[in-house]
Symmetry: C2
């Protein structure tokens, strides 16, 4: 149902995020999104120029939420170990509360490595930047190749978002990560 607090554009974005997180790009039609947002299809084109731009907007939003959550908490203070653990906790927290967004990110993050066209460069750079920031935090306390390690850790948590609901609890993920870091 069209939200009253948010504007119409926001409702559409929200609908897009919902749709793209449960099916992949090619399986989602503009009709689908319109139906979820309780809006007619041409209205989407009033706010967004094309399907791919709408997709990018939805992705961007989900991604920035993740980024805010992760770095909002962990970048303040403290020893490295503490930092790393709090970063991972933020990630796990995000998994708990924003499963939909994380699913979208995980499912589609490979798209911009295969998709060509310079308009994807921006989004790709952002994602790489995120990984690097995670790397910076983790590298100081982990022996192995840091950026690869960071990507792996991000992936470990993220991958659980791809599972059907209720098949792996966030607690299990947490356990595994903490074990990984505990030495």
């Amino acid at each position: 149902m069209t939200n009253r607090v948010n504007g119409v554009k926001e409702s559409i974005l929200e609908a897009a995020r919902e749709a793209f997180s449960s099916k992949s790009y090619g399986d989602v039609s503009m009709e689908d999104i319109a139906k979820i947002a309780n809006v007619k299809k041409p209205l989407i084109y009033y706010y967004f120029p094309s399907k791919s731009e709408l997709f990018k907007a939805a992705w961007d939003e989900a991604f920035h939420k993740l980024e805010d959550k992760v770095f909002g908490v962990s970048e303040n203070d403290g020893k490295y170990v503490k930092k790393a653990k709090s970063l991972l906790r933020s990630y796990i927290d995000f998994l708990r509360n924003e499963r939909q967004s994380l699913r979208l990110i995980e499912r589609e993050k490979n798209r911009f490595y295969s998709e060509k066209g310079s308009s994807w460069e921006h989004i790709k750079k952002e994602y790489d930047g995120f990984v690097n920031r995670v790397a910076d935090v983790l590298s100081s306390e982990v022996d192995s190749n840091s950026s690869e390690y960071a990507r792996a850790v991000a992936d470990i948590v993220g991958s659980s978002a791809l599972l059907p609901d209720g098949q792996m609890s966030p607690d299990t993920v947490e356990l595994i990560i903490i074990k990984s870091l505990a030495k």
Copy 2:
């Protein structure tokens, strides 16, 4: 190019696996597959009744390769710890050599939880069976909830297959898993 050692049907399957592992179901067209297999589109329908059946066949093949690899090695003998480690090593080995197949499995395994129709039941059961067998091997030496843990471990390794090539080495994955199991 159409393979001479394999028959035409095999070439098509191979092409399908390649296509479906780099893009997701809705983004792959029968034309794409035909082009990769160096064959005209209607020929695909001579060997496979529909796109979804072709997809299932490709998935099945990739999945059985994984299953063979993993259980072929680890089910022979030995102590639990040894068993579990060899199982994971098989998995990692598979990741090393059959990145394409694993990518297909990881990217699309959620499909049959959302897709309806009884013809998906079979493939779903097989996947669940696989997870359970992994659980059986791992549960004997791990404290936490075993089946969830098994799924998580399978996922940890599998998820790396979703990364673009060369961004996380199998060694990194191995390191993480061994660390997880080492206690």
